[in-house]
């Protein structure tokens, strides 16, 4: 009986730990790359992440002129700053899902697994419709060797897709 209770106690502890740790590690997928981030202290339908995680997951940095990556800067609307940035003690939190809406980036979430997927912004995705520049891609062959469309510049290329299904 005692052995049973000990087992039950251990099992319960495990279950609680597992649930807590699941909830604590949201995953952000940005530019196709998955990064685990720290969970915000308060429950929210939005994704609040630390500014450290912001840079780690997306390479964006908060600057006086806006939220920036390389030469690209998105100013935050002045009267709505609190929707995007929140300082709690030593940590600054950033609302990445609200920012995605601001910059017209599709964002979808799987709440159960805490996975947030950030898609291509309209400007990144649809430039070729007017420029007619074939979007570049880099993909492996069967041996894992990577090939880019750009490697074939100077030749006529028939790009053709198929599938096994």
């Amino acid at each position: 009986m005692i052995r049973y209770l000990v087992l039950l106690a251990i099992a319960t502890t495990f279950a609680v730990t597992a649930r807590a740790s699941d909830a604590k590690t949201p995953v952000v997928i940005y530019d196709g790359k998955a990064t685990e981030v720290s969970a915000a202290p308060e429950a929210s339908n939005d994704l609040w992440i630390t500014t450290g995680d912001l840079t780690r997951a997306t390479r964006f940095v908060i600057k006086p002129q806006g939220v920036c990556r390389d030469e690209l800067c998105f100013p935050l609307p002045k009267n709505r700053k609190a929707e995007f940035v929140s300082k709690k003690g030593p940590t600054t939190w950033f609302n990445l899902s609200a920012f995605a809406k601001l910059i017209k980036q599709p964002v979808v979430v799987d709440q159960k697994n805490g996975v947030w997927y950030f898609g291509a912004r309209d400007a990144e995705q649809n430039g070729y419709l007017t420029s007619l520049e074939a979007p570049n891609f880099t993909l492996p062959d069967l041996n894992g060797k990577l090939h880019s469309l750009a490697d074939f510049r100077g030749k006529k290329v028939l790009l053709v897709t198929w599938a096994s299904w």
């Binding site: 979808v108 950030f118 007619l132 979007p135 510049r153 299904w165």
Partner: protein, 213 residues
């Protein structure tokens, strides 16, 4: 074979498998075909997304400057599936030969205006569908195939004409059980409408200047 004949004319074929199952799913087909052209595997359907494709096989012609000179269209280069698809490969192969030989002067190379007109701007829903599909693909790869299903379904709902997003999801699952349908049933629902959008190839003979399209 077509590629051997044409590669002397500064011409390349890049074939890209749109397969979540990756090399495991596409590999046996590629190995059997023993291709000399470049055969790539695209587990995340990045090409489908970047080029706004909705079906396979889809072909895009890209010139020496990396510009699109014929956008997405059905692109059979053999007749293996002709009994199902009702699409002959011969006119398309003739068009490719003409392009390889005549380059920008080929009657099959479209004007910029025509290429732009044929490229439809995707809807906001397509952008969300791409994201839902990518999220589903990620969950599936994490061993969470059941959790992936609602996101595959959402991608299909948002972009209902996208056969790549339907057929891939069905192939990863028991389609009847998880999606209440299958490929055969969905094709039947088209009710005689073609499964493939017909190609718009000019009927002009080699070297003619007449651009009827």
């Amino acid at each position: 074979m077509l590629y051997k004949e044409l590669r002397a004319r500064n011409f390349e074929i890049i074939s890209v498998a749109q397969d979540t199952g990756g090399a495991k799913a596409a590999g046996p087909w590629i190995t059997a075909a023993k291709p000399e052209y470049t055969a790539l595997v695209d587990e995340k359907q990045i090409v489908t997304q970047k080029y706004g494709m909705v079906n396979v096989p889809t072909g895009v012609w890209i010139n020496e400057q990396g510009r699109i000179v014929r956008p997405n269209e059905v692109a059979f280069i053999d007749d293996r599936f002709k009994s199902f698809t009702n699409v002959e490969s011969a006119p398309y192969i003739d068009a490719i030969r003409d392009w390889a030989a005549n380059g920008a002067k080929s009657v099959y190379v479209l004007s910029e205006a025509e290429s732009k007109a044929r490229l439809k701007p995707p809807s906001d829903d397509r952008a969300r569908a791409d994201a839902e599909f990518a999220l589903a693909e990620y969950l599936y790869k994490q061993g969470k195939g059941v959790d992936a299903i609602p996101h595959f379904k959402e991608a299909q709902r948002l972009d209902p004409d996208n056969w790549n997003y339907k057929r891939q999801a069905w192939a990863l699952s028991d389609a009847e059980r998880d999606y209440g349908t299958n490929f055969g049933k969905e094709v039947k629902k088209l009710n005689g409408k073609p499964y493939y959008q017909p190609r718009k190839l000019p009927e002009a003979k080699k070297g003619a200047n007449d651009r009827r399209n």
